[in-house]
């Protein structure tokens, strides 16, 4: 690599890093700015008097139940409950299913995967109308439970696919030994396969978590009250209503970004592997 090439490369990296981070950084700066600093035309890279007042409000230190902060706090709780429940249950069902497909060689497995892929292509909006109608008929609209069920259903194919392709690469011999020793299928799965599949479990886990945390259209249609509303929905509503209260709204935005960023940092390796897996292995 010659010198000019190296300079170009550095410039590109600086540009990408700058473009990726600036909007998020700027949001953060706005969220800790005081109102009067925001009106200034000449912006500084860091507010002269940073304030965390907006975060205090988002985390609901205010006593008023109907305050924006309290409502956002409730939707954060909803989002966390739903995302963790969905992640855990999806993984449990996906492990069993992947084992059935990969190790127990379930009959008709090719047809099953064909259908799963076919419906995977559907836009969620095609499902949302009939699902809305069914749920309204059985009175399960606006519930964390039904929203979680739908998220599990939507995430299962991906998780099953990641796990079964990982199982495929693991040797069968240890498991067979375990089964011969009287472990049974569940025992072999629990004692042998799961401990060996940690990377695949992390990968699919992060994805399921991120997709339930970030999902918008289904939650928009199916949730109506604070009982089940998720964070993205409340952000969207409040942003529309308090359009001009930038510091408060940007603080809420930053709060919604925290869990994904924390997870992505901790599980960075698995995240990248998981993203890449889908594409490189056809």
């Amino acid at each position: 690599m010659n010198f000019a090439h190296k300079i170009l490369l550095i410039l590109v990296i600086v540009m990408i890093v700058f473009l990726s981070i600036t909007p998020i950084y700027w949001t953060f700066v706005t969220s800790i700015s005081s109102d009067k600093d925001l009106i200034k035309t000449s912006k500084s890279w860091f507010p002269p008097q940073p304030t965390f007042r907006n975060y205090q409000e988002v985390f609901g230190l205010s006593k008023d139940v109907y305050s924006v902060g309290n409502q956002i706090k409730r939707t954060i709780t909803n989002s966390l409950t739903i995302s963790f429940a969905v992640t855990f249950l999806t993984l449990v069902f996906a492990i069993l299913a992947a084992y059935a497909i990969e190790r127990l060689r379930v009959p008709l497995r090719n047809y099953i995967s064909f259908f799963v892929i076919l419906t995977q292509m559907l836009p969620p909006v095609i499902l949302v109308i009939p699902i809305y109608l069914i749920l309204s008929k059985i009175g399960l609209l606006d519930s964390k439970f039904s929203l979680s069920l739908i998220y599990i259903a939507l995430n299962l194919p991906f998780a099953i696919w990641i796990l079964s392709s990982y199982f495929q690469r693991l040797p069968v011999s240890v498991e067979e030994a375990a089964i011969i020793d009287g472990c049974g299928y569940l025992g072999a799965l629990w004692r042998v396969l799961i401990p060996m599949s940690k990377p695949a479990l992390f990968t699919s886990g992060i994805f399921v978590f991120l997709s339930s945390w970030n999902e918008f259209i289904i939650a928009l249609v199916l949730t109506t009250s604070l009982k089940s509303k998720t964070l993205p929905i409340s952000i969207s509503e409040f942003m529309g209503r308090f359009y001009t209260n930038y510091p408060l709204m940007t603080a809420a935005g930053i709060v919604s970004m925290i869990p994904p960023i924390i997870f992505a940092s901790i599980f960075q390796r698995f995240l990248v592997e998981g993203l890449a897996k889908g594409a490189v292995k056809e």
Binding site: L9, I13, I16, S20, P23, W26, T27, T30, I39, K40, K43, A94, L96, A97, Y99, I101, R105, V106, V116, T119, M121, P123, P124, V125, I126, I129, P130, I131, L133, I152, A153, L156, N214, F216, I217, L220, V221, P232, I233, S236, M239, Y246, M249, T250, G253, S256, M257, P260, I261, F263, A264, Q268, L271, V272, L275, A276, G278, A279, V280, E282
Partner: protein, 295 residues
Amino acid sequence: MKLRHKKILTAYLFLLVPLTFFAFIRFYPMISAFYISFTDWNIISPVKNFVGLANYVKIFNDSVFRISLLNTLKYVAYGVPSVIVLSLILALLLNNITKLQGFYRLIYVMPYITPLVATSWVWRWMYQKPPTGIINNFLNMLGLPTRSFLMSTTEALPSIVVTTVWIEVGYCIIIFLAGLQSIPKEYLEAARVDGANRRQLLFKITIPLLNPVIVFLSVMQTIIFLRIFTQVYNMSDQGSGGPLNSTKPLVLYIYQKAFKSFDMGTATAATVILFLIILGITVVQLKVLNKKVEY
């Protein structure tokens, strides 16, 4: 024989939950959507009358539907090539980096993993007039005039495309990098020994071998842009797809028909059209782009 039966039984038992979910939350709704699209049902009336293709005729006579359809195709036409070309170029450059790979990758995926709702609003603020809109501040700093971006019927759709490209590029870079690293080094070295120059290496070896990744990403990005909703809902005034429907994609049209006018027949007819478009484009892309390369 008995053992075999036990195995099959266990297999179906393990698959019970996913198959049930699949049947009730994916398969049944899909069939049901098709069925509703042939009826005149709105939520309030208890009866569903079979009306044949009337809903389809109705939407194609609806100018808003035609605009939404056109907008959706615009999103795809502007968005997909931009994402693919930009991320491929960047990935080819970044492939030379050996230090701090993990850290950089984390930074590129940041836009992709943070909630779309939040990033849409962030961009909506950035597109505003001075002093809040930093993009306009920047333009003014360079001595360029202030632009209206999301407030203009001609600039709003491209502005939303830019935001979406910003979100998707990081993800595609990571996929391309993984693809690049899976290309055996021997091929490139052999070609270099044979006297191939850098351009030949790129166009005769790297890009053809990267073809499966390009196909995968193009199909995926096309589906993403065809399904575009959240950005538009959050970046247009009151989630309307405005100004004057200029940014409204099909999914937003469907959402408004179904949940604002409660006209389920028309809404599902539009979802069927969207489904057929996605299916058609995907099949064509797989056929056209998927040429096997072997060395």
